[in-house]
């Protein structure tokens, strides 16, 4: 009796959630269907499915790649480069710094740690004008040097998360390594870093999501006539709204979100874990 009631309830829930999930993916579905339609059809009936008249295949995608005054693949390339390099730099430098902070515990280390905590509540608007100016003066305004800016502004969260984890590591292992004649550099890379792996994945995912999707920092820091990332590219399309080729724009949006969705479907276990860990610490 009880089992039967439970299962009907569960079936109803499953049905409700199936409907909800279908509603949830409508926006993405709209982008997909509109990316293979003619401009006239998008304008008149954006919600209609493509039919034999309005279906144009991949022409929009081909147009999208060369569309506008800046090639899409170039901005995609800059996006990949900036986010990968910045994330790796943040992971390496911040885990090292966090180990130093947790194990040395000098007043400098503690002061730096509290500054990191403080930096987490400062909104970007507070520093955006002065940061842009500093980056220009120090010639950090190219895609090759912008990871340094990301390291500086993103250090707070990363160091906070790494310090919390390092403090939970058993000291005995590092002491054993030291007694066996292992120097600090080797101890860090051979002993500590492998133990940090779960945190490295969590922090890496959070930083990667942040840098990949970031619009304002690269927009202000980079010379956008020469260098654009995907968010800047999309915002430029929006700026010329009305005169733009809607079909090609849809194709560009599709190309901008498809890689993320594919990566997500393959590593969702890590992403969801990383997000949960990051949030609980925050």
């Amino acid at each position: 009796m009880k089992v039967k009631r439970y299962s009907t309830g569960s079936t109803i829930l499953t049905i409700v959630f199936t409907v909800l999930c279908l509603i949830w993916i409508v926006p993405i579905f709209e982008v997909i269907t509109n990316s293979v339609k003619t401009n006239a059809s998008i304008n008149q009936s954006a919600f209609a499915l493509p039919n034999s008249e309005s279906f144009v295949g991949i022409t929009n995608y081909i147009k999208g790649l060369t569309f506008g005054n800046y090639p899409f693949l170039k901005s995609a390339g800059y996006s990949v480069w900036i986010s990968v390099v910045s994330t790796l730099l943040i992971l390496l430098c911040c885990s090292m710094a966090a180990w130093y902070i947790a194990r040395v515990g000098s007043s400098f280390a503690r002061g730096f740690y509290y500054l990191c905590l403080f930096s987490m509540i400062v909104p970007f608007q507070m520093v955006m004008f002065t940061l842009t100016n500093t980056a220009d003066e120090l010639h950090l305004n190219t895609p090759w040097t912008i990871p340094i800016i990301y390291l500086g502004f993103g250090a707070g969260l990363a160091i906070f998360m790494f310090v919390g984890f390092v403090k939970g590591l058993p000291l005995e292992i590092e002491e054993a390594a030291a007694i066996d004649g292992c120097g600090p550099v080797r101890t860090f890379f051979m002993v500590v870093l492998p133990m940090l792996k779960p945190t490295l994945i969590s922090v890496g995912i959070l930083e990667l999501m942040w840098v990949w999707n970031d619009y304002l920092l690269p927009y202000l820091v980079l010379d956008i006539t020469k260098y654009r990332t995907i968010p800047i590219h999309v915002q430029y399309l929006k700026g010329s709204y009305g005169t733009v080729d809607l079909g090609a724009t849809m194709a560009i949006i599709m190309m901008a979100i498809l890689p993320i969705i594919i990566v997500y479907l393959f590593c969702q276990k890590y992403i969801i874990k990383g997000v949960a860990a990051g949030a609980v610490k925050g």
Binding site: T14, F17, L131, A155, P184, L237
Partner: protein, 306 residues
Amino acid sequence: MRKKKKRDSSAVTSNLIRRPIQRWFPLFILPVFVCFCIGFIWPFLQGIYLSFCSFNVPSDATWVGLSNYSKAFHDASFAHAFWFTAAFAVISIIVINVFAFTVAYALTQKMRGSNLFRTVFFMPNLIGGVVLGYIWSLIFDAILKNYGTYLTANPTYGFWGLVILVAWQQIGYMMIIYIAGLQAVPEDMLEAAKIDGATGSQTLFKVIIPNVMPSITICTFLTLTNSFKMFDQNLALTGGLPQVIDKVNKIKINMSELLALNIYSTYNISNKYHGVAQAKAVIFFILVAVLALTQQYMTRKKEVQQ
């Protein structure tokens, strides 16, 4: 309690490890510290200084005292952006948290396909704010066209559009945090409630919710700070439009503009407004900090001691 734990663990650091690491100071901590100074500390301090100055670029700054602040406080567009942001924050905190908690609660019950549903709900979170704003502006415009209007015609459309967008983006994220919290509710407590004959709603309100209070703290904190700091979505969805000219003060007010976007557009009006924009940024920073700390203090008090 947390603080005490931290202090204890830092005290156990042994000299065996500490001394050798300290010698490697230039390798381990100096690079990050230098970058942190370039990317945060120096811009932050310079930002505070410049909020008291009139400047075009920081090198030609001249001290003007509090006049930037008084201009910022008398700016009708800033006041409008503040109330717009406050209303947006309240609505989005309620919508996101209620929906996310309900979904998380349902998904932690035994149910077919709950992993798939979780995957779908979380997905929008990975899409960047600018791209999200673009997608939704096209959808809203397509819907509103049937009624002979468009998204930036009325700030109310912009407001609810932003709420829908942000809910779509953040519910999945908060749901993940609530699921983690719900799974950590002690099994024996739930069993005890069942044996004592508690009804479903009694179990929910007297056992489950007090136990997931830490998750509620985190989620309200995140939704609060996210909605106050929101920029990309606002810029891409409406860009602050429609614009209205205030007849009393003779200034332009962007009707669907949040605080962060207001600061940004103030900076872009002309060189004369750089100082005012920086003063607004300082006010904005203090506001966010005070809200974040107060909220932490208020909800931490309600958490169950374990």
